[in-house]
């Protein structure tokens, strides 16, 4: 199967006339796996085919091109291929893109998480594919996630213990996806939550798709004390809640698994909660799908994943996507 890099992080398939997560002038259709910036078409005047939730989020983040909604499991017949989206469990609307054609079947994972994040539509996968293009963000055996049950307890306890001590808990979480996931896990507490502006405007899409984000409002400096606060990690250095005397800060990310993040960010707690699958799930997934060839992207350590796939007799190659100039 022929493909080439296109756009910022995308792929163009000349034989199929489509591109994935990146614009190409010759592509008849561009499929977008999810609404994170590194997968979103940079050229705003392009077209995007994605799930309804993804398109709604893209629009809120500035996308202005033409849209085609494709629901999960619904087959889109194109002249040279058939495309189906599978829920990827990464963030709301996130999809794996399954392409069937004469050249064989291809599963492009985008970013994915199994077991799926509770703030998504779940996770589902085709049972086989000839080619797999998979992300491997956490492609080292030092990354193994706790269950959502444990993580939920950890997150709720941090909020409750901090509030009980008369202090204000701050969760540092990325604006789209992680922020809403944390809010969803805290929702059963029914304690008022305030979320930083950039994340707040995206919450309506989660509401509309039936994800309970609890009792939340937009961050307000004057009244934020005693609420549970959600902000991206960059917010602290620009004065977020700096008027509140006693705060406790938890950094929520897969990278929180690394102890070095503690001093780099000066936080009270590291909560390793990721919207990507861990190393062991990744290898398992490849084994189950057992494709003819695996292409590994989005990782600084492709050789480690390849080493493990080799032991399972799975043919693989590294597909470098980073550091490509924008078209």
């Amino acid at each position: 199967m022929k493909f080439q890099k296109t756009g910022y992080h995308g792929l163009y398939f000349p034989e199929l006339g489509i591109s994935l997560d990146g614009y190409h002038p010759k592509a008849e259709q561009t499929f977008v796996s999810h609404a994170h910036a590194d997968h979103m078409p940079r050229n705003r005047a392009t077209r995007a085919c994605a799930t309804k939730a993804t398109l709604e989020l893209l629009k809120l983040r500035g996308y202005k091109g033409s849209e085609t909604v494709l629901d999960f499991s619904e087959k889109l017949e194109l002249p040279k291929c058939t495309v189906t989206l599978y829920p990827a469990g990464h963030i709301l609307g996130s999809a794996m893109i399954y392409v069937e054609s004469d050249a064989g079947s291809l599963l492009y994972t985008g970013d994915y998480r199994t077991p799926p994040s509770p703030a998504t539509e779940g996770f589902e996968s085709p049972t086989s594919a000839d080619f797999l293009i998979t992300e491997a963000t956490f492609g080292l055996p030092i990354y193994k996630w706790k269950s959502y049950e444990e993580l939920t307890k950890e997150i709720q306890n941090f909020a409750l213990e901090t509030l009980q001590a008369g202090e204000t808990p701050i969760f540092l979480a990325y604006n789209l996806g992680k922020a809403q996931e944390i809010m969803h896990l805290l929702a059963p507490l029914r304690h008022p939550v305030m979320i930083h502006g950039a994340g707040y405007k995206l919450c309506s899409v989660y509401d509309a798709h039936g994800i309970d984000l609890g009792n939340y409002s937009a961050y307000d400096r004057g009244t934020c004390e005693g609420k549970i606060l959600i902000a991206p990690s960059s917010a602290l250095s620009s004065g977020f809640a700096s008027n509140v005397k006693k705060t406790k800060v938890a950094y929520c990310s897969g990278w929180a698994a690394n102890e070095s993040r503690r001093t780099q960010l000066t936080v009270d707690k590291l909560i390793p909660i990721s919207d990507h699958l861990d190393f062991f799930e990744l290898i398992d997934f490849c084994k189950k799908l057992n494709p003819g060839k695996v292409y590994i992207t989005h990782t600084p350590n492709p050789a480690v994943v390849q080493h493990y796939l080799e032991q399972e007799n799975i043919n693989s190659a590294y597909l470098e996507m980073e550091a490509e100039p924008e078209d």
Binding site: P141, N258, E259, T263, F279, N301, V304, H307
Partner: protein
């Protein structure tokens, strides 16, 4: 109930995760207060502050990060080069990597059955590692130990084997504060007992039993050294409160003498007596009563103090031969007196100790440092210049009213050092940082140019490795640039195109035959990233050689006029 090593590690981890030194101190104080036996107390204080062995023992388990890494890879049944090393690069910490692999990898999980080892067990294992010879024996002991441990125990066990701090933001000062808090003792009394005993474990036991006043100085047991702070960070308000001494280009040492029994200790409290039979001879001839000096060992020949580089030729040698002794004769120059007339005197003021030191030196004909009073900045400048002319490093300013206290005591002692030299170098390799710089490329191998040098085929060869002196923003900018100029990858190391020029500063150039250049730099650090310069502007090996030659051959002012020490 007796404590287990797992409980100890859990408290240590909690201290790591807690912000604020008071809260950290409280956590450890509570733990210490609940311990039942003196033995446990001793080990807990030692483990957290000194390592698997007490500092006084001078022992080390000698398990390097390669040994433990290879052992861990084998235990986890993973490839060391292909899997372990990339993991270590990502975390920036070998012990943390091992902890997480032990936690995650099925093969390792299957082998481990935590057995609630006691602190005593840990001590015993450390002794076994110390006695074991060779990597294979050590590996076997490590494997057998890890089988009985939880991942968090494995992490801190490995860190303890490295001796020193556990890297949890909890240094000796905090351990001392915890001991005081645990048993309701005066912090100064605990600190004093620690200085005398040189042992956190013994100090804790004395504090618990309310026997701190029994902490007595004993001859031939080294005391922790008093250290100086750099003057830049401590503005001096009233110079007249200080006296100035030259900062010798030598090696700090503590000398204990009683008649013909002499012991010399280095700054890290190791017994270095055997390396300096000439000093032993010098003092035993003089038949001093029990006395302890703080001072400096210098190479001294023809009325001149010679460079530290020459002293280095003596430092490694346990039993120097006649030739070495005559080539590099040394002298112990005293500058403080800690024990005399059968009692310790470090609680006396500097002026009082100095008077006693002068008495002793006069009576037994000993070299002691010259002391100068100060009135203004000009005095400092004049003395500083003369110190450099003598070949010394700079000046020490000492507060007249200060008592002798171990560690860095704020403004009591200040050092004024000469600015180092500098070279423009090329960045050759970037290494993934460790500890708090984990995850970025923060250590750099810097090279000098040899492209017109017939002895070499390369364009550049390494001259030193630097990992400091840049700001966070500069580090970010460098990392962006590095991404663009990377041509090779060797695990955690990136090979770079010769593009980035760094001006480095260093204290001294030293000969080192084992390096490609034949020279290494002492304390290299960044002075500036020269975005304005290119690879053609880089200094050459001949420049380095010239610098060294000038330094070594520099005329050093003989001691007969305005000497940096007196020896009548």
């Amino acid at each position: 109930m007796a404590t287990t090593f797992l409980q100890f590690c859990t408290v240590v981890q909690k201290i790591r995760e807690t912000r604020g030194s008071n809260a950290k101190t409280r956590l450890f104080a509570d733990y210490l207060a609940a311990l039942e036996t003196a033995d446990e107390l001793n080990l807990a204080a030692q483990f957290i502050g000194e390592g698997a062995f007490s500092e006084l023992s001078g022992k080390r388990a000698s398990v390097g990060s390669r040994t433990s890494g290879l052992a861990a890879a084998e235990f986890c049944e993973i490839d060391y080069d292909r899997v372990f090393k990339p993991c270590r690069t990502a975390t920036g910490s070998s012990s943390e990597t091992i902890e997480r692999l032990m936690e995650n990898i099925p093969a390792a999980i299957k082998k481990r059955v935590p057995e609630n080892l006691s602190l005593d067990d840990i001590q015993e294992i450390a002794v076994n590692l110390y006695s074991a010879s060779g990597r294979d024996q050590k590996k076997e002991i490590l494997h057998n130990t890890w089988r009985k441990m939880a991942p968090i125990e494995i992490k801190y066990f490995i860190r303890m084997l490295g001796q020193g701090s556990l890297r949890i933001g909890f240094e000796t000062r905090s351990v001392v504060a915890s001991i005081a808090k645990a048993f309701g003792r005066d912090r100064e009394a605990v600190r004093y007992a620690h200085m005398i005993t040189g042992s956190l474990g013994k100090t804790a036991a004395l504090a618990k039993e309310n026997r701190l006043d029994e902490a007595r100085f004993t001859l031939y047991t080294p005391l922790s050294f008093m250290l100086a702070s750099p003057i830049e960070s401590r503005a001096v308000e009233n110079l007249a409160q200080y006296v100035a001494e030259e900062k010798f280009d030598g090696m700090r040492a503590q000398l204990h003498v009683d008649g013909d029994t002499i012991k010399i200790f280095s700054r890290d409290l190791n017994d270095i007596t055997n390396s300096f039979p000439d000093i032993v001879e010098f003092f035993s001839q003089r038949e001093l009563p029990a006395t302890v000096f703080d001072g400096e060992i210098c190479v001294y020949k023809d009325d001149t103090i010679l460079p530290f580089q020459l002293l280095q030729k003596r430092m490694g040698i346990k039993k120097p031969g006649k030739k070495v002794l005559s080539q590099y004769p040394v002298l112990f120059i005293a500058y403080d007196l800690l024990y005399t007339d059968d009692e310790p005197i470090f609680h006396l003021k500097l002026t009082e100790r100095r008077a006693l030191l002068e008495d002793v030196a006069g009576k037994y004909t000993l070299p002691i440092t010259s002391q100068n009073s100060l009135e203004n900045e000009d005095d400092v400048d004049t003395l500083f210049k003369r110190a450099l002319e003598h070949g010394n490093e700079g000046l020490m300013l000492k507060l007249k009213e200060s008592v002798y206290e171990y560690g860095q005591r704020k403004k009591s002692w200040l050092k004024v050092k000469k600015p180092g030299g500098s070279f423009d170098t090329i960045m050759m390799y970037a290494h993934a940082g460790s500890g708090k710089r984990g995850g970025t490329y923060s250590d750099f191998t810097l090279g000098i140019s040899v492209k017109d040098d017939e002895r070499y085929e390369e364009e550049f060869i390494p001259i030193g490795k630097a990992y400091g002196g840049y700001s966070d923003d500069e580090l970010k900018r460098m990392n962006r640039m590095i991404k663009e100029i990377t041509v090779e990858r060797y695990g955690p190391t990136l090979g770079l195109l010769p593009k980035l020029v760094v001006e480095i500063e260093f204290d001294e150039v030293q000969v080192n035959k084992r390096t490609k250049a034949g020279y290494t730099l002492r304390f290299p650090r960044f002075r500036a990233i020269r975005w304005d310069l290119g690879p053609d502007d880089v200094d050459t090996l001949s420049d380095v050689e010239e610098y060294y030659k000038q330094f070594i051959e520099k005329k050093r002012l003989p001691q007969h006029k305005n000497p940096s020490f007196t020896f009548e």
